[in-house]
């Protein structure tokens, strides 16, 4: 229909227009944090003992000797052109790091999200449906305990039990060294690439490496889903249209499954979007625990080397991912629920 098309497009445009100042402020914040903060990033990244001439040379090369406002506009211009800067310590373009290590993070978070949705939706719906019964009680207890469980602690316990006690699963890296070295990359997802290459051994190897980190991160994220879906179901069950459906004599099963659950799940899409930020935070910890060579792991390495330029570029990437994710979620929501388009 034409009218639907225009209003959706209008909504999308308004939403996009609102994102521009947000991104601008985010970029400015990062710049202020990393550059205007006192101290000298160049000498810090060189260990604080480099001769002045060497520091000056690198400064000139990276444009750090320019006045601060000039650096700021230079920085904005670079990002607009898709250039996230170059690291100080090993002179790699940040975009290369994103390409090389981003796939690892993406693969981990993708499978973790699947685990989170399966576990979270099941437990959340059941707990909300059977409120104040033992199902609700155990579902909530699970939700609370899993929320209280730091992802690195759960990972450590999983390593102890499945790794060193049972010896079933590997506890670090994305694949065995040989597999990793010989893997021909297409998508950067080891589980997909190995199938494209038709290498069954590589596939099982990378799946084995993926199980512990993905389940760990997924379970922790599921805690959020359980809590929110449960409250949603309870709220929906109190709505007038549920009452109306019951009044019309519709079978209680159908009321719950066809009317309540379906409507209680719509907000989950929003939650998935909000979880992206949480998932990325969790990924930093999971990657560290399981030595998973993703973006979070890389960021921490650069932090340790006091490489301000790399940190700045990677932080921008993380923030942009969250902004884009929330934008996409808003579009999907507007498409599903016409009330959101104003």
């Amino acid at each position: 229909m034409a009218s639907k098309g225009t209003s959706l497009r209008k909504y999308a445009l308004v939403r996009l227009a609102l994102v521009v100042p947000l991104i601008f402020i985010v970029l400015t914040l990062v710049f202020l944090l990393m550059r205007v903060a006192p101290g000298d990033p160049i000498s810090a990244s060189l260990g604080g003992h480099a001769p002045q001439s060497q520091i000056d040379e690198i400064k000139a090369e990276l444009g750090y000797d320019e006045p601060i406002w000039k650096q700021y506009f230079e920085y904005l211009g670079q990002i607009a052109r898709g250039n996230l800067g170059t690291t100080i310590t090993d002179r790699r373009p940040v975009t290369d790091i994103v390409r090389d290590n981003g796939a690892a993070t993406l693969e981990l978070t993708f499978y973790a999200m699947i685990v989170a949705i399966i576990v979270g939706v099941t437990f959340g719906l059941l707990a909300g449906r059977y409120r104040d019964t033992w199902i609700d009680g155990s579902g909530r207890l699970f939700g609370i305990v899993i929320y209280a469980m730091p992802v690195f602690f759960l990972g450590l316990m999983a390593q102890l039990f499945f790794g060193s006690y049972l010896g079933w699963l590997p506890t670090s890296d994305r694949a065995s060294p040989i597999v990793e070295a010989t893997m021909e990359t297409h998508t950067g997802f080891f589980t997909v690439d190995s199938l494209i290459n038709g290498d069954w051994n590589a596939f099982t190897d990378s799946v084995k490496h993926l199980v512990l980190p993905a389940v760990t991160l997924g379970l922790v994220t599921a805690g959020v889903f359980i809590r929110l879906i449960r409250v949603n179901v309870i709220r929906t069950m109190k709505d007038d249209y549920i009452e109306a459906a019951r009044a019309r004599g519709i079978d209680e099963r159908s009321v719950v499954y066809d009317h309540a659950f379906r409507n209680a799940l719509v907000p989950v899409i929003t939650v998935v979007g909000l979880t992206v930020a949480l998932l990325l935070s969790g990924a930093v910890l999971t990657e560290t625990t399981f030595n998973w060579p993703g973006l979070g792991h890389t960021l921490l390495t650069y932090l340790q080397n006091r490489d301000y330029a790399a940190v700045q570029g990677l932080i921008v990437v993380f923030a942009l991912v969250v902004v884009v994710a929330s934008l996409v979620i808003d579009f999907v929501n507007a498409y599903i629920d016409p009330r959101i388009r104003y």
């Binding site: 947000l22 209280a148 730091p150 450590l156 006690y165 560290t288």
Partner: protein, 330 residues
Amino acid sequence: MAVASPTDTPIQPPRSRLSGVRRAFAPVSEARGMTRTMLWLGAGITLAFVLIAVLAPVIAPYDFDAFEANGKRFPQLAPPSRDHLMGTNVQSTDVLSRVIWGTQTELKVVIVSLIISIGVGVPLGLFSGYFGGKLDRVLVLLMDALLVFPFLLLAIVIAFLLSDRVGQGILTAAIAITVVYIPLYFRVVRNHTISIREEPFVEAARALGARPLTIIRKYVFFNVVQNVPPLATLNAADAILTLAALGFLGYGIQPTEGAEWGYDVNRAVSDAASGIWWTGLFPGLAIVLLVVGLTLLGEGLSETINPVLRKRPVAPVELEAERPLEVEPR
């Protein structure tokens, strides 16, 4: 029941501050069923940890960094035994002592960070929501921008920048955590203030010529502040997790300044490969238990205070008691 007491006497004295407090706590004594269990269990666990923290000097067998006693060096990575109930770690320190002293560190950081984030977030939200205008728009945009960052990354970067200049102590960790929570308080308080601002009683006060500051202090503040305790409790739980995560990544409390559970779990990762479980299990369990306690308390509080989720006893309750909790329209 205690609930009915304000209206027991026919001639009501002018509302004192105490009756306001009692009214605010009325839902707590009304809580029933699971909510009540959660509330008391959570309060019990939290209290136990507070006691452990306060009594740490008395109950901890050794100092958090002690590796010898009476001139005898502790064994390295010894499994739990009579001398060391939770074993010892790779630096020969007693795990039990570190867990107990860690409670103190954790609670100190959380208290400092809560004070800062409430102290900054609530007033900002009140003023921004009440006065609106340009200041409001700028603050909202700024806070939204802060919420865009994955919270842990923001905390890491702040801790990293501060540790270069201030050092890695309790204050650094608390500030790094605070930056994450100020926007949350700001948002909740601001949105609530906006809805309260248009209420008839605020308009009446305005019509009587009350100054904005008086209105905020006397009429808006008490209505808005009811949201803070559940949020603060849940945030305290979250702050523990953030601090532990910072510690795990090496940006928390410096090991020489105090015992910290997240740091201990990090040190235990390398022990895991050789099947040593006691160095990581106990500090990790301490994190889980404290966070569970705070979460139960916070969820219990928000279920009792949030009228949408609240289940009341069937006994009639006069409307007077039902009024003060404003239902935010959804």
